[in-house]
Symmetry: C2
Subunit: 431 residues, 2 copies
């Protein structure tokens, strides 16, 4: 990561930021109300161990579009804020497992992605520095012993096969107190992790085999309403509209009418809001798998007919998600424009906010030079440049303009925590 | 504060650092043991709300020499680590007063010291950013209404008179949930703060009117023994020897024999340790008030006869402490050389470590150009240049040498937390 990247912040197009200005002002003015509210909410529903939240900033609206409870990308965070991560982990584990000393991280299986492994290595470093012994226990069936992987930058990561012994898992002679999942379980709950006597964070129930985006956003919708009422704003400024369909089969073209009807209804609802606030933009809808991650099977739709006019290749793409899981349920979500750009090329920049426990510990922008403002930035195989957040999200400055950098980051931190609270409520229901 | 000062670290004379090298290596190697031990200790005895710990680094020995439970100097911390302070405060107050929203800080009365007021302003900023409403309630009897004070750098601080109403205190119409003492109560417990229904942090019992340094260091001695046993080192490497006398009257020359006897015994004990480890330095002893702060009434002694050969001026100085409190009890403490120097002039640099709850959030060096390595750096009216810690104390790097900067700061953080734990045990006994 180049040094100048650690001090740069993307430009926010301000032409449309009038109402957002109001939103950010509201957040600043009501900071103590907001923080007191979060405090009481975390007591009622404790936050999951960690999360990353994809946020979109349309200038007139800021909202989460995806909440990942098994976050990767720790390697993209600003190294200057590592101490914040260390402290947050200490705080979280004191609460969750005060006697714990040893941790095994269970990562994703795709060992060819060196950037992913670099994220696991950063996570391991954070936990080590927080004062824990940490080893990596892989679920890969082809891993027969400790395997060393070289990472970008010359660092190394050692994966070891995870083994079951009675009601505990271990790697070699290392028996952890905590099993930290960094695997989203999109392919199902691995039997080796069932009914463990050890603390499993996050719980298996939060894996993608159990979770639906539509459930998350239903919780988020409720959270956004409660929050908006507190600070007296239209919840739409922070909440993406959505609808979902039952069983869909893209290959057999089953469920298309449901899709078309819902996309239409969403586009109309968005247009109504755009009219209400004088927003001269074309509404669009994002269609994606209701379970799963990694931006597979994602479609941007400006017209309901687009969902029934897919060619064979597009259908195949929509039908499959990560780990080969077939897409049978989809969520249709209000598309939110990205009005943050980076550099002379005005590359689109999408913030991803990181949370450890309920602490916002940093984030980065996905910067992509070839994409348009209403396109999905997390598509399969897509290349992006990470741009670490130049400042933390907990250090707002009332003496500056509401959209000054520290205040913009504070806004992202608030939105990300609202999404985290929705995930906490999902968790409370699931376990 | 000049920018280059935020990235600089004083030079540590390494000629004598052999055994210290061992100490720092031990701390690094045993990090997970150390952190697990601290975790279990904080469960048994929660840390006071905040503290600053004066540490001395003699190369062969690192130890605390003073623990302040009503710390000033927050304005001297590196602004880059403000987010760490914010997060630590959030974590602490969630535990101590989860429902709280409003805080009144009760500062010291000396409003002429603009640097002190700047510290109060920084503390207020940390609490504000952590999401609390914060006002300053002064005990000054001459304060009739809100008074605005200009601070270095053009900032402002508003003091308001603290008022009692029933079993609560307030400023104007602002009734806090938390009363945060930043006044060390050297002059006694103010009646206005007795028997409050509000949360008082730290408790009145920890004021200097109740506390004795010798009690603190008795606890510290025990903490150091337990800790040293864990990581298998001679506790002397982290523990300053000390003795105390009963009633002393410097003006009437009462108690001199006790002083002389104890200073002698201490000097002999130090010499024995110096011989054991081949340290070719002259032992010295620090004589100071057992209650109180601000470096008044402090004496450096290389020979027991010095304590009985004081002239009238020296006696007067030793007899009075802060707030006019007469020194009647003294503590004699092993003097620890300061072998950290700063700049071409090799100015002596003494680290002060800051803690919020049990989190080490930063620190600064007192840099003094005119003093010698065995002199007290916190003498009355003394001028020092603050040099903010360039790095945090929770981010050690095992890939670097044990005395590399991040590891030296980690060592300071460990020593400071040992002192904090001693204060926590004092607190548990007092309340």
């Amino acid at each position: 990561m180049r040094v100048e990247h650690l001090h740069a912040v993307p430009h926010l197009t301000t032409a449309l930021s009038g109402p957002l200005h109001d939103l950010e002002s509201h957040l600043l003015t009501n900071q103590s109300t907001i923080e007191a509210w979060f405090r009481s909410e975390w007591i009622k529903t404790p936050a999951p161990f960690y999360a990353s939240v994809d946020v979109r900033n349309a200038g007139f609206k800021v909202a989460p579009v995806d909440t990942n409870l098994f976050p990767a990308g720790f390697n993209n965070l600003n190294p200057a804020f590592l101490p914040l991560c260390i402290q947050a982990v200490q705080s979280a584990l004191e609460r969750l497992a005060p006697q714990a000393r040893r941790i095994v991280i269970v990562p994703e299986n795709h060992t060819r992605n060196r950037f992913y492994l670099a994220s696991v290595a950063t996570l391991q470093e954070i936990l080590l520095k927080a004062g824990f012994e940490v080893r990596i226990g892989s679920l890969r069936p082809d891993l027969e012993g400790p395997s060393d992987f070289e990472l970008p930058g010359g660092k190394h990561l050692t994966l070891e096969p995870l083994e079951r012994q009675g009601d505990k898992v271990r790697v070699a002679d290392f028996e952890p107190c905590i099993v930290l999942l960094n695997n989203d379980l999109a392919e199902g709950r691995p039997p080796i992790l069932e009914d463990l006597a050890q603390v499993v964070l996050p719980p298996l129930e939060l894996g993608w085999s159990n979770r639906l985006k539509s459930e998350h956003f239903a919780h988020y919708h409720q959270v956004a309403r409660e929050f908006a009422a507190r600070i007296d704003i239209d919840p739409w400024f922070i909440d993406p509209l959505f609808r979902n369909c039952g069983e869909i089969n893209f290959m057999k073209r089953e469920g298309e009418n449901c899709l078309r009807k819902n996309v239409n209804a969403l586009l109309e609802a968005i247009q109504k809001k755009y009219d209400e606030y004088g927003i001269d933009k074309a509404p669009f809808v994002v269609v994606k798998a209701d379970a799963g991650t990694y931006g597979m099977g994602i479609m941007m739709v400006h017209d309901a007919d687009e969902v029934v006019e897919l060619n064979r290749k597009q259908r195949t793409k929509m039908a499959a998600s990560k780990g080969g899981l077939a897409v049978t349920q989809v969520i249709m979500q209000e598309g939110i424009y990205t009005f943050e750009t980076w550099g002379e090329e005005q590359a689109v920049a999408e913030p991803v906010v990181y949370l450890l426990d309920h602490f916002v510990v940093g984030g980065f922008y996905r910067v992509h030079t070839d994409r348009d403002v209403n396109e999905n930035l997390n598509a399969p195989g897509m290349h992006f440049e990470p741009l670490a957040f130049a400042e933390t999200c907990n250090n707002p400055d009332r003496s500056k303009a509401p959209d000054a950098h520290p205040n913009r980051f504070y806004t992202y931190g608030v939105i990300a925590r609202l999404a985290l609270l929705a995930a906490a409520r999902e968790n409370a229901e699931a376990v």
